[in-house]
Point group: C2
Chain length 385, copies 2
């Protein structure tokens, strides 16, 4: 029996090379627009913004995007945006820029504080239009109801989940990803792959999402290396962008699981980027989950083209193939290689076990000892054969 | 290279058994709601509407839904709705009820006439919230930017296509389909199957839509007979509803082709229901398109479980299997069985050839002679082996 599901979606998704130029189609009747832009892409998008200005739209631009955005970086944006009083907020960039833009859109008027909205379903409303333009492939944030902040005092990442955070319009233009450095392409691509994999093997998996997740896995697995090797390969960039879009669509209705939970303290405490954190942990969490996921991993193996004669061997081959993709894209393979110490395993485990919102989605229950086991393996970086 | 695509989507899709009760979640702050309801489902949905009334929402209900809705049936609704001045319009029913509700929502204020909006992109705006609750599986209208009217004077069907016709909320609750008569289940199911097939083999096909279309074909093909045989099989009803939802998602970005074009005069001139028209024509249009679609039909054959050794034989097997599904569901197999005369072929061909909006999507060009050929075959009802 197919279970019930709620999908919260952007009203419009503009997908494909050159779609940035559709931005103005979505600003009919709007007079003041606040742009939050990742600094490295500002020059690329400026011509489109200048055209808006020529049409009489008032523009405020900020490039104050901090990676793995701390709460203070968000709060610093409220006063100038409130004074400007935009009718539309546009976030252009990777996950950090878009997450910040989403939260600015619902909080700049000061009626709710950041603390008020942490958690699920706590945002009261949104009174301005929200447009997200993704420039990585990616976090999928342009289509999700999620924004993640770093509590720098508690050294913890905190999620805000609300349907009001789903942008009205998502623009996914792979031309904007062409100049992404190889390392960012690799890290964000592995993040997207993790979204698909954790949704497909999720305790709350759903056929609607499975369909997107599996196609996302295929697109990402077969195109990420190409994009890392030749950043200007627009065909591969477009396929990767589509895979990332599918990964994003998985997050609202099903979401991620233990990989993301265990990645939280790596970002919050050790400033490891979200994509790299996920990438390093993914094969070790998959290995831990293997006993509960043999059939599903075997399906993934088939998609990845590494199917073996038995389901169990196929499942294991899937794990190794995913590790191989990460290796070939130049992502470090262990926590050791990321500069962590073996003694950090305890801190990481204590931090991860608090992320119950995501751990409860994992196909296999994870205790504090299990977390220690997974982090220890990830520290060494060696996967069982 | 994956082409660009614009997806216009409902902001929320509520899918699954019992989801009708989520209606009230989407009416926060709304004081007056106009309901247009297919009469046979009125009693089923009344408890939910009465609950809204108890919460102080003012309700106006009409059950003036005419199948294959004529323009006058739409225009008759404008005056009472304008007087009531709703903030939200809710259409509950099959395609006719939802199409009418969509057009009421954009036209009741009288700023545009029906003639103004016929065609693509002619609706100026929509100022009320629009919610669609589908009770068939189905037209997919609950998620599409399309509404179709019958011009009774010209004996022609006319389409209105606009992103303003995409409902804000689509509720797909298979419990509402349980009491559908077998004949309606069969006809609407074949309509949904046709949406998926014509999108997948479309001249403007797109991988995003292919993914939905193929999964839709699978779900519909393996569940329609079950639903026709036992209308209360909620598992099969849910799977069919999901297939129909996918079929609907195909319509906005890619849309249908020659089957729907040729079906238009069958509805407009001969009052044959939309689903039955499509069902009768589908195998004959597929046969006509065969030379252009061998690879894709072979993929469909694989999904349908009738793959043969050669691609061509697989493709042919797909056509026969689809005809078989229609037969087993009790749908007449020829225009003759529908009571038409051989001399009607000319009228039908003349009518169909005008539907260039859809004919241009067909994988093989269709001339007036080709239309005569297809209608003649459909009249006899015999598919080449």
């Amino acid at each position: 029996m197919i279970k019930e599901l709620t999908l919260n979606l952007p009203s419009t998704v503009e997908f494909g090379a050159g779609k940035l130029t559709t931005l103005m189609n979505h600003l009919n009747g709007i007079k003041r627009v606040f742009f939050l832009i990742d600094a490295p892409v500002k020059d690329k998008v400026l011509p489109v913004i200048e055209e808006l200005e020529r049409q009489g739209i008032q523009i405020l631009i900020s490039t104050d995007v901090v990676p793995e955005p701390p709460i203070y970086a968000l709060e610093n944006l409220f006063a100038p945006v409130k004074e400007f009083a935009p009718e539309c907020v546009v976030g252009i960039g990777g996950g950090s820029a878009i997450d910040l833009a989403k939260l600015v859109a619902v909080l700049f008027d000061g009626k709710q504080s950041v603390a008020d909205v942490i958690g699920i379903g706590n945002v009261a409303c949104r009174n301005v239009k929200l447009i997200a333009v993704s420039t990585t492939s990616g976090t999928g944030s342009e289509v999700t109801p999620i924004a993640v902040l770093t509590d720098t005092e508690m050294k913890l990442k905190k999620g805000v989940v609300s349907r009001y955070l789903v942008p009205d319009v998502a623009i996914i233009d792979p031309l904007l990803t062409l100049s992404l450095p190889a390392a960012v392409t690799a890290a964000t691509g592995m993040d997207a792959l993790t979204h698909c994999l954790e949704a497909y093997t999720n305790r709350n998996a759903h056929p609607i999402v499975d369909n997107l997740a599996l196609e996302g896995i295929r697109l990402i697995a077969f195109n990420m290396e190409k994009c890392v090797t030749d950043g200007t390969d627009i065909e591969a960039r477009t396929a990767l962008a589509l895979g990332s879009f599918y990964g994003g669509l998985c997050l609202g209705p099903v979401n991620t699981a233990a990989v993301h939970a265990l990645a939280y303290p790596l970002g919050g405490e050790f400033k490891i980027s979200h994509g790299v954190s996920n990438s390093v942990l993914l094969p070790f969490v998959m290995q831990f989950n293997l006993s509960k996921c043999i059939e599903k991993y075997a399906v993934v193996a088939k998609i990845l083209g590494v199917e073996k004669e038995s389901q169990e061997n196929s499942a294991k081959a899937a794990i190794h193939r995913i590790r191989e993709i990460s290796d070939k894209c130049g992502i470090p393979g262990s926590l050791k290689d990321l500069g962590l110490k073996e003694s950090d395993v305890e801190t990481l485990s204590q931090g991860a076990i608090k992320v119950t919102r995501l751990l409860q989605n994992n196909p296999r229950e994870i205790t504090i000892d299990d977390a220690r086991f997974i982090f220890s393996n990830a520290y060494k970086g060696i996967i069982e054969r």
